[in-house]
């Protein structure tokens, strides 16, 4: 039994800290306010650090990082309040393309030269993975896709869309390049400053179908729940640390507000939540993956639990920062908004909690 980071883990974490350090809040705002909500050059640097390649096995050209490695990386991204959509645009497509056998596309994704994104959300399906509003019809040349998706991450960065669609009642994944005929994208901004999109396809030909069934999609969602939870643990640590620092230096009535007992007890509640979140993250990331049901359940539970705790810590962080907390000028607001987005990635707290409870 050992909960200390290995030397290699320490290396990842410090690499991310160094990478994120120059991006202060003002720089983060500028980056997020840019048209695509992010910077492609920065993405290349991230890939060059090998952080995307961690998500794929050595056979597939990756660095073969484990779920533990990836979770610790995601946590470090959160703790640094980094603006990088590593989990949505890096880990997620890498996992899907490797597991779906799309080696050529994977290579570009790992190198950071291709940005791929998964289009799965449908308005009428809320957080369900079942595609019903996008149909794939087989023809002589392969598949053509028709339908609508919403909340497609990184819409203005993506070169390649991985689109879930209904094929005779099952949900399958198809590759559609951004310049495919019939593809129409309407971009909009999300709470974390990233740009998402509504994607409409009209008889748009897919360049490939991934070798991935519903179970494969469910496994990807479980992975993503873990990494979203990990990033939230990092974010809430940052929120708590910044708030502790603030209440120690902010004075009212001649004394630091951190000396008020009512705030102290609430901060202890936040601390307890954070320690419990961290424990739950460790539990989920160290769960044996031999049995898919057990591991999916652990990921669902961790996401529900950590999402609730991180939101609670974020709200307290804002409240204790007073007026400063609701500006866009501190990490606090940025972290709160990122938590709101991650908490709803592949299911909000109600959805994830129900998945956990029903899998018992």
């Amino acid at each position: 039994m050992n909960f200390d980071l290995s030397d290699e883990h320490h290396m990842f974490v410090s690499a991310i800290e160094r990478f994120a350090a120059p991006i202060d809040v003002a720089a983060r705002r500028r980056l997020r306010l840019s048209p695509a909500g992010y910077d492609r050059a920065r993405w290349t640097q991230l890939a060059d650090m090998g952080l995307i390649a961690l998500a794929a096995g050595a056979d597939a050209g990756g660095l073969g990082g484990s779920a533990v490695d990836l979770a610790l990386v995601a946590q470090a991204i959160g703790a640094a309040n980094a603006p990088d959509p590593l989990i949505e645009l890096g880990i997620l497509p890498a996992l899907l393309l490797e597991r779906g056998g799309a080696g050529a596309a994977l290579e570009g994704v790992l190198a950071g030269t291709t940005i791929a994104t998964l289009a799965w959300t449908e308005r009428g399906q809320r957080y369900s993975l079942n595609a019903t509003g996008m149909k794939a019809d087989q023809n002589a040349d392969g598949f053509a896709l028709t339908g609508e998706k919403t909340m497609v991450p990184g819409a203005l960065l993506a070169d390649l869309f991985i689109v879930t669609a209904d094929v005779g009642g099952a949900t399958a994944c198809f590759l559609v390049p951004k310049d495919a005929p019939g593809l129409c994208l309407r971009a909009y901004r999300l709470a974390d400053g990233s740009i998402a999109g509504e994607l409409t396809l009209a008889r748009t030909p897919a360049t490939a179908r991934l070798a991935l069934d519903n179970a494969g999609l469910a496994a990807m969602a479980a992975d993503m729940r873990l990494y979203a939870a990990a990033e939230m643990v990092g974010l809430s640590q940052r929120l708590l640390d910044d708030t502790l620092a603030y209440v120690k230096q902010r004075e009212q009535f001649g004394i630091a507000i951190g000396s008020f007992q009512a705030l102290q007890h609430r901060l202890v509640d936040c601390y307890a939540r954070q320690e419990q979140s961290r424990s739950m993250l460790y539990r989920a990331m160290l769960t044996d993956r031999a049995d898919a049901a057990t591991w999916h359940r652990a990921a669902a539970g961790a996401k529900a639990f950590i999402g609730e705790n991180s939101n609670a810590i974020a709200r307290e962080a804002v409240q204790m920062h007073g007026g400063m907390g609701i500006t866009d000028e501190l990490a606090i607001g940025h972290a709160l908004k990122r938590v709101l987005v991650l908490d709803r990635l592949f299911g909000d707290a109600d959805t994830a909690l129900a998945d956990y409870a029903l899998a018992a």
Binding site: R29, L33, T121, R123, G124, Q125, R126, Y127, S128, T150, M151, R186, Y188, R189, L190, A191, G193, A196, E198, E251, Q252, F253, G254, F260, A262, L263, R315, V318, Q319, G322, G323, G325, I326, T327, D328, E329, G333, H334, L336, K337, L340, V341, R344, D348, D350, T351
Partner: protein, 402 residues
């Protein structure tokens, strides 16, 4: 015991309803509904302000001789409630509820004549210079200074969280005129014109992307000594008078119940993703029901305070209770709205305004377009106007005797 209005009050209510029916245009209602920030934008707010001004109803909280309506507490309550139920824009409180009553109570006849009519007509837009970077809950520690030079006060320092300073013609400010006495005793209340070189306004962007509040910097800014309200050193007691008014909003429930009603409608039409609608999920349904009960109770709590007022009894610090409850219930509603609207509620458009011809197309629905902005902006509800912590300190001391 009963909770019915008298027949005279019901007649008054019908008069208000008829007026609203005839004067509250769709444009105003739409502007109010699609303004997710705490303060309504001036174009919408001032248009409604001027309509009420023409009717003589713009300042129910002023003495009748200064341009008020002469309404009873119950009539004021009914008016506020009907406006909320009809979806009328909220008026800026800065002139009408904050500095106006101060001038009515503490101003000279000349000051009243100069300032009050222009507040009533909407010709002057006001902002408030209270908080400073180092002085939030501990307002009396403020540092912005003013010294008398000839007939002018010369002002140096800065104010923060100044709502709509970028729209304002005047600022009312607390300044320190004497640094040698007890901190509360050295404070003076000044009215200062905004349009002068000594004042600069810097936006403070909110995390929702709105520009509502500002930092205001005073560098040898000037105002005539005639614009001092009350005596030098009387600023603290004026400030307390004003804060009581700011915290005195005792009619949260109607707007809260309107919001809840809207969520109930939406819950019947938003698919849960697993068959059926979100409103049929017993977990969400019960959370929404619990918030409704809280707002229904608050409605009676407000009526109980009104009943005290109507009997001529001072409601006192119970307004702190209403502020505390109202703002927290509002935040619970914001959270439920985010839950309800699912992935679409993650959008956070930066364009403003969200009403009118220039407004961006919403993703999914208009409700979804504003849900996140409301959630983020309304975090301020438990911070500004006396934070939750300040309200609890007040109640603990004055009501519970702790």
């Amino acid at each position: 015991m009963d909770m019915d209005f008298s027949s005279q009050d019901i007649a008054f209510r019908n008069e208000v309803r008829a007026f609203l029916q005839n004067n509250l245009t769709d444009r105003l209602r739409d502007g109010a509904r699609r303004t997710p920030s705490v303060f309504v934008e001036p174009d919408i707010g001032m248009e409604w302000h001027r309509i009420l001004y023409r009717q003589g109803w713009v300042a129910p909280h002023w003495p009748k001789e200064d341009g008020g309506t002469g309404w009873s507490p119950t009539q004021k309550f009914i008016f506020e409630r009907e406006c909320a139920l009809a979806g009328a824009p909220a008026l800026s409180i800065l002139g009408l509820r904050l500095v106006g009553p101060v001038i009515c109570a503490f101003g000279t006849p000349e000051q009243k004549a100069r300032f009050l009519p222009r507040i009533l007509s909407g010709d002057d837009y006001w902002c408030q210079g209270y908080s400073e970077p180092g002085s939030g809950s501990d307002l009396a520690s403020l540092k912005t200074s003013a010294r008398l030079e000839g007939g002018d006060y010369v002002i140096n320092g800065s104010k923060i969280w100044t709502t709509h300073a970028h729209h304002a013609d005047w600022i009312f400010a607390l300044v320190r005129t004497d640094a040698t006495v007890k901190k509360q005793a050295g404070i003076t209340f000044l009215l200062v014109p905004m349009d002068q070189p000594g004042i600069s306004v810097t936006p403070i962007p909110s995390m929702s992307g709105d520009h509502e509040v500002n930092a205001v910097f005073f560098t040898d800014a000037r105002t005539s000594a005639e614009n001092r309200i009350g005596a030098e050193g009387q600023g603290w007691s004026i400030a307390k008078f004003l804060l009581e008014n700011e915290r005195g909003g005792s009619c949260y429930a109607p707007r809260l119940l309107q919001s809840i009603g809207r969520l109930e409608q939406l819950a019947q039409t938003q698919p849960s993703g697993s068959g059926g609608m979100i409103g049929h999920d017993p977990r969400f349904r019960d959370r929404l029901a619990r918030v409704r009960l809280e707002a229904e109770a608050l409605e009676i709590t407000e009526l109980r305070i009104l009943a005290e007022l109507a009997k001529g009894r001072a409601p006192g610090p119970q307004t702190s209770l209403v502020k505390l409850l109202g703002s927290n219930i509002g935040q619970r509603i914001d959270t439920l709205r985010l839950e309800l609207l699912g992935p679409d509620a993650l959008q956070l458009p930066l364009e403003r305004p969200l009403y009118g011809n220039e407004a961006p197309e919403p993703v999914g629905s208009e409700d979804a377009q504003t849900a996140m902005i409301q959630y983020l902006n309304n975090r301020a509800a438990t911070i500004f106007g006396g934070s939750d912590e300040v309200q609890k300190n007040i109640i603990a001391k004055t009501v519970l005797g702790l």
